[in-house]
């Protein structure tokens, strides 16, 4: 448990058991969200899905009724369960319930509405410099072509999803971004990402941003790289601070910061 969480837990422990604050004291704290994610995976994901997408239990990520509930109401639901349903009571320490709630709240909130702890300017420098992100990802026209455009990513992803995408890029690969090498019958070699692919044609975007529209009959060999082109080693090659800084930078990438969240439609496929 990190220090701030420990301090808050102590404070909570000193207060009366039932005298809870209506608002989650850990709301929006990255370390609490991360801890909550672990607890959620252990105790909740079996019914609600690993990312709250629902299963035997309701979808929590997109639930309007959950969004309307106060933190205190959600706390009581977890603590007491919902009698007459499969939702059991959880005898967890209060601090852990708040961590779970921090995670649940973050599930449906786009990253630009979640406070980020890192330094966005340092994140920008890392993104375009040593981190190498800008060689594949574009933001407002600056950057590379092979990865998804990130200009509006903070409206399309939650902070948890952004963190997962950096640390585990292969967990949810996007269609249209798989690395491919095509050898044409005249010997030409085309490398890039397959925007689309069938038995009859393949559409390849190369690193220079040039599209190659290829009939499969012209190709002598088509080799897919398999998995994401992105390194799955950023947990080791970047420092924890660096990751927080990049997340803070990405959390600012939104083209309509004043848009009404209720009108957002989520579309993960980007092809």
């Amino acid at each position: 448990m990190s220090l701030p969480v420990a301090l808050i837990s102590m404070a909570l422990a000193q207060s009366h058991q039932e005298a809870r604050t209506a608002k989650n004291p850990l709301s929006g704290r990255p370390e609490a969200i991360e801890a909550g994610k672990g607890l959620f995976r252990e105790g909740c994901a079996g019914c609600h899905g690993g990312n709250g997408e629902g299963g035997r239990g309701p979808n929590l990520a997109e639930s309007e009724s959950l969004r309307e509930k106060t933190d205190d109401q959600v706390f009581n639901t977890i603590r007491r369960g919902i009698p007459g349903t499969n939702m059991p009571a959880f005898a967890m320490p209060e601090s852990q319930i708040w961590e779970v709630i921090a995670f649940i709240r973050a599930l449906g909130t786009p990253a630009f509405l979640t406070p980020a702890s890192g330094d966005a300017e340092a994140g920008r420098a890392l993104f375009y410099g040593e981190g190498g992100c800008g060689s594949c990802h574009m933001i407002r026209g600056r950057g590379g072509f092979l990865g998804p455009d990130l200009t509006n990513i903070a409206a399309l992803r939650t902070s948890t999803q952004l963190r997962d995408a950096i640390l585990q890029p292969n967990a949810r690969p996007l269609s249209g971004f798989e690395g491919v090498t095509v050898i044409l019958k005249d010997g030409t070699r085309v490398e890039g990402v397959a925007k689309n692919n069938s038995n009859y044609s393949i559409q390849v975007l190369d690193a220079a941003g040039k599209l190659h529209l290829i009939d499969r009959a012209q190709a002598s060999d088509v080799r897919f790289r398999g998995g994401s082109l992105m390194s799955d080693n950023y947990a080791h090659t970047l420092s924890p601070t660096g990751i927080e800084n990049i997340l803070a930078f990405l959390s600012k990438q939104v083209v309509r910061p004043d848009a009404q969240p209720a009108n957002r439609r989520r579309e993960r496929e980007n092809r």
Partner: protein
């Protein structure tokens, strides 16, 4: 970095850019603007599909736009890639195969509506979202380059049009004239979206023209600019048509001609300054937007070569102007069902029949509120010297209120409704562009619900969508029916034609899908490539 080391850091070279000089040459292999060309002739020099070969025209592919209900775009084609739009969405498609390359959807857009397509310039395509943001997208990847609000939805605006790219700038107009707003046309820098100029089609209080509004609050006067205009590169003048005054069907609160509604305005493309204007329907009470396309043809008129502007108007008259000077040359009816005016005088003013305003009980007036023609694209063939105009013969019963409605409540102060047992009927009419005289016509079957336009070609053909869901090819000289294909949809867009690797195609966005046709080639057996993950 461990990406395999096989790609470059940062892009340094891109595909061939779309230059202004390319758009000047369009349409040829490419189709680079809504009308295909700046002058809105919508005439292609391609000849592979022609009067002889069109009998062998067959479907090549269909592209389904996933969430579409009513596509209205003219697809843009450059370098083998087609860009088609739906509301707040651009789909880039391999134009030989119909396979999607990328799709951009503005998830946060606050409105839904129809959309009529992108503009293309440099390495960007430009989309106007329904809630009036102009978005520049990287052409090969769909990445957002910039995203800029150009009109405020809380003041009644929305957008449906295809922007127009010229030189270094993107021109847009606005929708909203049926519930009150103040129309404008504006130019933005293509590189960063900075506003260059803005021309309001309804003057503010005290400005020239405001005396034509009585006491009306002109911030709700209408004059929308919802169709892409035409452009004369030699004169550097934009010709943009404007919509109805608001409230559409009640004129009692806006006494006067209501400038510059139901007009064509000629604007200096560099500054946005008004060079001349002409109002087709002064003090309109029938929702006769002037949004039919202004066609810029150069022809010999009464012995003198002149730069003309041709315009079949919703009010039932076909107009001819000198576009250099703005001089009105003539106007003639191009529909039989026309009773609101006896004719047009020598100054271009309608000789109005009294008592034709809508009434609370309803009054029959011709043409209908949809007009004798509307935004369905006409085309002009310089070989046949004919203008092909989708034309509707219909009257309506016009009902009007007796007071001003509240702005932004979707109230028009009345409406036009169909008359029982008098259904409308569509025709494709070939008009003499100098006199408006009808040379031939093609009567359509159908429920009079279509919005499809035309494209004509140097192959001697005119393609158009009919009122019964067919894409049809006629002999451009005679109107002889040469080819047809049932698309199975209500047609709400105009066809385009283009060529890739010396193969000509014809495409139309129809309902929920884009259909593309080319000449028949026998299928050859192929062996599936090795190593493919499918």
């Amino acid at each position: 970095m461990r990406f395999g080391g096989w790609f470059l850091l940062f892009a340094v070279c891109l595909n061939a850019q779309v230059r202004y000089s390319d758009i000047l040459k369009s349409p040829s292999e490419n189709w680079l603007s809504y009308h295909g060309d700046y002058r809105a002739l919508r005439y292609s020099p391609l000849t592979q599909i022609n009067r002889q070969t069109v009998a062998n025209l067959v479907p090549k592919w269909t592209y389904h736009v996933r969430a579409a209900r009513r596509l209205e775009a003219s697809p843009i084609v450059f370098d083998g890639v087609m860009y088609v739009t739906d509301a707040n969405e651009v789909d880039a498609v391999d134009a030989r195969t119909g396979r999607q390359i990328w799709m951009y959807r503005d998830e946060s857009a606050q409105l839904q509506n129809v959309n009529r397509g992108v503009a293309i310039l440099g390495d960007s395509v430009f989309l106007a979202t329904a809630d009036a943001y102009l978005v520049a997208l990287q052409r090969s990847s769909g990445a957002i380059l910039w995203h800029k609000k150009f009109a405020d939805t809380s003041k009644g605006y929305f957008a449906t049009l295809a922007p127009l790219a010229l030189k270094d700038r993107i021109i847009v107009g606005v929708s909203g004239g049926d519930s009150g707003m103040r129309g404008f046309i504006a130019a933005f820098s293509a590189s960063d979206g900075a506003e260059l100029w803005r021309f309001y089609t309804v003057p503010a209080k005290g400005e020239p023209g405001s005396e034509t509004w009585g006491e009306f609050d002109t911030q709700w006067g209408g004059g929308a600019t919802w169709m892409t205009g035409a452009f004369d590169p030699a004169l550097n003048v934009l010709y943009w048509c404007t919509g109805n005054p608001w409230p559409d069907y009640y004129g009692g609160g806006r006494r006067g001609a209501n400038l510059y509604t139901d007009s064509v305005v000629a604007l200096d493309a560099g500054t946005g300054k008004l060079k001349w204007y002409f109002q087709f329907t002064p003090h309109d009470t029938h929702d006769w937007d002037a949004e039919s396309i202004p066609v810029l043809a150069d022809l010999t008129y009464k012995g003198k070569r002149r730069k003309l502007l041709l315009h079949p108007n919703r009010n039932g008259f076909f107009y001819v102007f000198d576009r250099e000077t703005g001089e009105f040359l003539n106007a003639t009816p191009f529909v039989d069902k026309l009773d609101w005016a006896k004719g047009i005088d020598t100054q271009g003013r309608p000789i109005e029949v009294p008592d034709m305003d809508p009434t609370p009980g309803g009054r029959k007036v011709c043409p209908s509120t949809r007009g004798a023609s509307n935004w369905m694209s006409p085309s002009f063939d310089p070989e046949t010297k004919l203008l092909y105009v989708p034309t509707l013969e219909q009257c309506d019963r016009y009902v009007g209120s007796q007071h001003n409605p509240e702005p932004m409540k979707n109230l028009m102060g009345g409406g036009g409704e169909g008359i029982p047992n008098e259904p409308g009927k569509f025709y494709l009419r070939a008009l003499d562009p100098l006199t408006g005289e009808k040379r031939w016509e093609y009567p359509m079957t159908g429920p009079a619900t279509m919005w499809a336009g035309t494209v004509s070609t140097a192959g001697g053909l005119v393609f158009f969508g009919d009122d019964d869901g067919h894409l049809v090819a006629l002999d451009a000289r005679t109107g002889q029916d040469l080819w047809r294909y049932n698309l199975g949809q209500v047609l709400t867009a105009s066809p385009v034609t283009f060529s890739i690797a010396r193969k000509q195609y014809v495409s139309i966005a129809a309902g929920t899908d884009v259909f593309t046709f080319g000449l028949f080639e026998p299928a050859a057996p192929i062996s599936l490539a090795k190593g493919g993950r499918n």
